[in-house]
Symmetry: C2
Subunit: 480 residues, 2 copies
C-alpha cells in the first residue's frame, strides 16, 4: 500500500512517499514501512510542474526532442573545450568594447548606486589606478556623477573573481579554446589579503596592480610567445588529482603552472624579472584561479546560443543579485537576490560583517569543477567549512542536476568518475537541488577586503525564471 494516512490492514507492507509522519501510525501498528526520500517536482508548484512535464526529454515530441538534441550539443561543446593560455595583454587591447572610462564588473548588470561595498571599493580603486581620480573622495564623486560606465565582464567574454572589476589598463590573461576558436579573458590574481577584488584600494593594492602592468604582464606575455601556449585543461586535470577543485583551492595548479613555465622563464627574462615573477608565484597559492575561470568561461561560451537548450552557461553574482544564463536564451540574465555564504571567518569577523555572495568565479561550478569537484579536494573543508565526507557528498549531489561526467577531469576518491558537468536548469527546478559554489567572503564595506570563505547555494528562483523563459520560447504557457 501507499501510506498517506493511518489506515492499516493486517499483513500490510507500506511504502511512504509522503511526510515522514505518515509512517508513524503504520509502524506503531507493527507493519514494516519503507520511507522514500521523495519530494514532488518543483516543490509542488503546479505550474512549474506542468511546464517541466512539457519540457521533458522525449525523442518523439517536438519540444522534448528539440531540448534533448540542443542539450546534447551544448554538453558536447563543454566536454570538447581545449582551453590554453595564449597571451597576457592590456585589457583594452584584448577585450572588445572596453575603452574610455569604462569598468567591467562581476555578475549581472548593476548600477553604481545599487552596488555593494566591495564592488564600489574596487571601482574606486580602479579609478585611482587608471589615474581618473587622485583621491578616493574624488573617485567617489566621479562615480556618483555617473561619469564612469559599467558593464558586466560576461558581456565581454571576461570573468573576474569577487568584485571582478576590470579597467582598460589592467593586464588580462587571454585564453583560447582550441576546439571552438573562441577567446576569454581574466585579470591576473592578486593573492589573498588586501586586494582590489575584495574592495580594498589602499596604496599597496594599487602598487601591485602597477607591477602587474610594468612587470608581471609583459613577463608572462614574453614567456608565452617564447614557449608557446600553456594547456590549461591538462593542468586542471592533474590538479584535480592533487587536492585542488579549481576554485577555492589552486595550490597544485599554481605549482604545476610554475613548473611548466619555469624553463622558458629562465631563458626569456632577465634575472631580476625572473626573481620577481617566481617570488610572486611562490607567494600566491591562488594565482591559477583566474586562469581556471577564464578556461571555464572559454568552454562555456562555446556552448552558448544553442536554441532551446536548458544547459546553464553562466552563474554569477554582483553582490546584490545572483544571475544565470542558459545556452538557449543567450545573453539574457535570470536573477534573484543573493545570500551570504555559509562559511568560516577570519578571526574578528562573523556573518554580520559579510557581504552577500559575489563574483564571476562561479563560472568554475558552471563548468563542473569548484564546488562540483569538491570530492577532489577534501582538504578544502579547512578553508570553506564542513567535513571531507561533505566534500564527497556535494559532488554526488551535483550529479543529480547535471547531464554528463567530464572524463577528462577524473575524481580519484570517486573511483576516477568524471566531474558532474552540464547543469540542466530543468533538473535544478525539478529536484530543488541548488548548485553548490565554493566562494570567498568579502567584508560588506568598501576597502576592507576578504574576511572568510565558505559554501554558497545558487537561488532556485533564477532557474525557475529560466525554465519559464525556455518554455515561452517553445510557445508553452500554463495558466497558473
Amino acid at each position: 500500500m501507499i501510506a498517506g494516512g493511518g489506515l492499516v490492514h493486517d499483513g500490510v507492507r507500506a511504502v511512504n512517499i509522503g511526510l515522514a509522519g505518515f509512517a508513524d501510525p503504520i509502524r506503531a501498528a507493527g507493519a514494516p514501512v519503507v520511507a522514500l526520500d521523495w519530494r514532488p517536482p518543483a516543490a509542488g508548484d503546479r505550474e512549474l510542474g506542468l511546464l517541466l512535464a512539457w519540457l521533458e526529454d522525449d525523442p518523439g515530441d517536438r519540444v522534448g526532442g528539440a531540448i534533448a538534441a540542443a542539450n546534447g550539443r551544448a554538453v558536447e561543446r563543454i566536454l570538447a573545450a581545449q582551453p590554453a593560455l595564449v597571451d597576457v595583454r592590456l585589457a583594452t587591447e584584448a577585450i572588445d568594447g572596453l575603452a574610455g572610462r569604462m569598468l567591467l564588473h562581476s555578475g549581472p548588470p548593476i548600477d553604481w548606486d545599487a552596488m555593494c561595498g566591495p564592488v564600489q571599493g574596487a571601482a574606486i580603486g580602479a579609478c585611482l589606478f587608471e589615474g581618473w581620480a587622485e583621491t578616493p573622495a574624488e573617485a567617489r564623486k566621479l562615480l556618483d556623477a555617473g561619469k564612469i560606465a559599467f558593464e558586466p565582464c560576461h558581456d565581454h567574454g571576461a570573468v573576474g573573481p569577487m568584485a571582478g572589476v576590470v579597467s582598460p589598463s589592467m593586464p588580462v590573461a587571454v585564453v583560447e579554446n582550441g576546439a571552438a576558436g573562441n577567446r576569454s579573458f581574466a585579470t591576473l590574481n592578486e593573492g589573498l589579503g588586501k586586494v582590489l577584488r575584495f574592495g580594498a584600494y589602499e596604496d599597496a593594492v594599487l602598487e601591485r596592480l602597477r607591477w602587474f602592468v610594468s612587470t608581471l604582464g609583459p613577463a608572462l606575455s614574453t614567456v608565452l610567445r617564447a614557449g608557446g601556449p600553456i594547456d590549461l585543461k591538462a593542468i586542471t586535470a592533474q590538479a584535480l588529482q592533487m587536492g585542488d577543485e579549481g576554485h577555492n583551492r589552486n595550490v597544485a595548479a599554481t605549482a604545476l603552472f610554475t613548473r611548466t613555465i619555469a624553463p622558458t622563464v629562465a631563458t626569456s627574462l632577465t634575472s631580476a624579472v625572473q626573481a620577481e615573477v617566481f617570488t610572486f608565484l611562490r607567494g600566491n597559492d591562488h594565482f591559477f584561479l583566474n586562469l581556471s575561470m577564464a578556461a571555464c568561461k572559454a568552454g562555456l561560451d562555446a556552448a552558448a546560443g544553442i536554441d532551446g537548450s536548458t544547459v546553464v552557461t553562466a552563474m554569477s553574482r554582483n553582490g546584490v543579485d545572483f544571475g544565470i544564463r542558459l545556452s538557449g536564451t543567450g545573453s539574457t540574465w535570470f536573477t534573484a537576490p543573493v545570500g551570504v555564504p555559509d562559511g568560516l571567518y577570519f578571526p574578528g569577523y562573523g556573518p554580520e560583517d559579510a557581504n552577500p555572495d559575489l563574483g564571476d568565479s562561479a563560472i568554475t561550478e558552471t563548468f563542473g569543477i569548484g564546488g562540483f569537484a569538491m570530492a577532489a579536494a577534501p582538504a578544502i573543508v579547512r578553508f570553506v567549512g564542513g567535513t571531507p565526507a561533505d566534500a564527497i557528498g556535494f559532488t554526488r549531489l551535483m550529479e543529480r542536476i547535471t547531464l554528463a561526467r567530464n572524463s577528462a577531469y577524473g575524481l580519484p576518491s570517486l573511483g576516477f568518475s568524471g566531474t558532474p558537468t552540464g547543469i540542466d536548469a530543468r533538473r535544478v527546478v525539478e529536484t530543488g537541488v541548488a548548485p553548490v559554489i565554493n566562494t570567498g567572503i568579502a567584508h560588506r564595506q568598501a576597502g576592507v577586503g576578504q574576511i572568510g570563505a565558505g559554501i554558497a547555494r545558487a537561488p532556485l528562483a533564477c532557474f525557475e525564471l529560466a525554465v519559464r523563459a525556455v518554455a515561452r520560447g517553445y510557445g508553452i504557457g500554463v495558466a497558473a
Copy 2:
C-alpha cells in the same frame, strides 16, 4: 557461550572467535552467532605468544615499563624530526667512509655473487661512471674478482631507491634534521625509464649521471647556499594534502619544491643552467622521492639506538633479502627472503620478469608515509594497483601496528588524522599485520630497468627475529 564445537542449548546466543566453520552448526540450529575476526596472537606460535606477553607495556614491570618508556622516546624523536635540505655534495665529500673503490647499495649487507640482476647492473654502471672500467665486461671482471667493496647505504646515513648504488663521485642531497642535528644522504633522482637505480647502465644513463656532477649538483648547491635550507617537512606535509604519499607519488612535492627554489634559481644561476635545471625538474615527477627518503632517514636515525625499544627504524630490501632494524638493537639487521610485489606491469612484462622487491625507499613507510599514507593518495592506485578504497584501508590497517599519529602529516580523507607512525615490532608479530610498502618493480636482469609498480608486504619473519632479539636483551627466553 563461546562456540568451539556444535553443542547448542535452547535459547543460546553464541560468539564465535574460532574458525568460521564453528558457527555453521549453531546457525543451522537456529541460534544467532556473532563472528569475531579474532586470531590468536603471533598466529598461535606458543613461544612467540609468551615472549610478547613478557614484553607487553606495563609501567609496574621492569621489562614492560622499560619498553614503554624507550618506545615513547623513540616515537617522540620521530615526530620531532625537522628535516631540511641543506646542500648537495659529492658523495665522497659528504658521506663518512665512502672512498676508494667502494659502492653503497640498498638493503641489508650482501656480497656481489649473491646480488640480484638490477643491483649487479647498477654496480656495473657505477664502475663505468667512475671510470674504474671501460666496458661492462671489464666492470664485471673487476666485480667478479672482488676488487670493489660493498657496504649498505644504511650503514653510512644514506638511502638509495631500488638498487640504491652510491659511488664516490655521485652528487648526493645532504639533509639535516634540525631537531637532533644528524644528517642523512640520498642520490639525486634520475626520473623513470632507463635509470641506474633499476639496473640500466647504457650510455644515456651514464650521461645523465655526468650531468648531475657537472650541472645539477653544483646548481642545487649554489641555490641552497644562496637561498638557505629547504624545509622538507613542510613540503611533505603540504604534498600529503595534494595527492602524494611521499614514496611512489611525488608530483605535488616536486612541483612545490620547484616553486620554492625558483626565485633563488633565477638570481643565482646562469640562464642556460637555469633552463637545464627547470627542464629536468619539469620532466621528472619523482624528483622529490630521494629527498623524501633522506628526510625520513634523518628522522629515523635520530630515533635509533634507544636501549630496549621495539620501534622499527629501518625497513629495506636488497632484492634478495628484506631487512629491518629496531631502535633498541642498533645496526643489527633482521632479515628474511623478500617476495615479488603485487602490482601493475608495463605493457609486455609480467610477474615472471619481476625482480623480488628492492630498495631503501621503504624508509618512507618506516617513517609513516608512503604505503602508510596511501589514504592521502587515492590516485596512486592507477600506478600501484587496487582501488581508492583500498588506499584508505591500508592506512587504517597500519594504525594497528603503529604507536602514534604524526599530526604534522594530516590525511584529509581521514578527517585530517595524522599518518600512522612508529611501527612497533611487537604489534606486527602479535597482529600478523605486515607493513605495506608502495614500490617500483625492476626487471630481474641487469640492464633492463623498471617494468612496473606495486604493493609489497614486509615478511613477518623479520619482525619475529627482532622481537626474539629484544627479549634476549632483557634476558627473557622461553623454552619452545
